[in-house]
């Protein structure tokens, strides 16, 4: 999977490493910004009221 991505990145090793790093950072950003805020309310830490409004 990762080998396949690596082979399909353009440029020499340094350019590929740079692009890979940017991709990784982008994925982490997307996770923190969109995926985790969506998933977090499914965990029980939000239930602090007695009437569950």
């Amino acid at each position: 999977m990762y080998g396949w991505i690596w082979r399909h990145l353009p440029g020499n090793v340094w350019v590929r490493a740079l692009i890979a790093l940017v991709l990784v950072l982008f994925v982490i950003y997307a996770l923190f910004q969109y995926v985790f805020p969506w998933a977090e309310p499914l965990l029980p830490f939000n239930d602090v009221t007695v009437d569950n409004q």
Binding site: M1, Y2, G3, I28, L31, F32, F36, A39, E40, P41, L43, P44, F45, N46, D47, V48, T49, V50, D51, N52, Q53
Partner: protein, 229 residues
């Protein structure tokens, strides 16, 4: 065969990394976000108060005359700051109207159907035990006699804890009744209820403390005794 093994291992590593990142998000990042949001809320309140909001007649515990209709609370908007010396001398959190999940991310949440701050009835507040800045992390350390101080910009309200922490189930809504049965209060009065979840990381129970309004003083007279070092 080798391709399959490699792909499966890569997927496992990816899943592991995802879980670690999610734990970082829940334990650390929500706290960072909440701290900055809560500071914003407090700044916003202090700015509002500095601009001299509408005149407000403070209703002391003995005051019987109804004060002029104060500004209504608006959902998701802060209206007070809470201080609990037992939870730390620098512990202060904004109190917002409503108990929606979005509100609880920004501070402590006032149960909309309960009494207003300092008024007759039960002023009930919910807060996160863990995540989002851990406002009520040390909730079990609260003891009878501890002060819970609130200000709405014109008046300091000092409540004294009478009972708690009391453990109950999530469906026990009568703990925020005007005169909660389990609290030991028998007559109507000016009460305060704090609720959070228990156990620390779970949601099977709730922890409750009850307090009564001990004293009020205008902000011009300085901080109440409970907040002075």
């Amino acid at each position: 065969m080798r391709v399959i093994v490699r792909t499966v291992s890569e997927l496992c590593i990816t899943a592991g990394t995802l879980i670690v990142l999610f734990v970082v998000y829940v334990l650390f990042w929500t706290g960072v976000q909440a701290d900055s949001v809560m500071n914003d809320q407090i700044d916003q309140l202090q700015q509002q108060w500095a601009q001299g909001r509408v005149g407000h007649t403070a209703g002391g515990p003995g005051a019987s005359a109804a004060p002029q209709e104060p500004a209504p609370y608006h959902y998701d908007k802060p209206f007070a700051i809470m201080y609990i010396p037992r939870l730390g001398f620098t512990w202060n959190k904004p109190v917002l109207e409503g108990t929606g999940t979005d509100v609880l991310k920004k501070g402590l949440a006032h149960y909309a159907r309960t009494a207003r701050l300092g008024q007759r009835g039960n002023f009930a507040i919910a807060g996160h035990r863990r995540t989002y800045g851990d406002p009520f992390k040390d909730f079990p350390r609260l003891r009878p006699g501890d002060a819970v101080v609130l200000t709405d910009g014109t008046t300091w309200f000092t409540y004294r804890i009478d009972k708690g922490p009391y453990k109950t189930v999530p469906s026990d809504v009568e703990v925020i009744d005007p005169v909660p049965r389990k609290s030991g209060y028998t007559r109507p009065g000016r009460y305060l209820t704090l609720t959070t979840c228990d156990p620390e990381w779970g949601h099977s129970h709730r922890l409750i403390v009850w307090a009564h309004l001990d004293s009020t003083q205008p902000v011009e007279t300085g901080k109440p005794k409970a907040l002075r070092r």
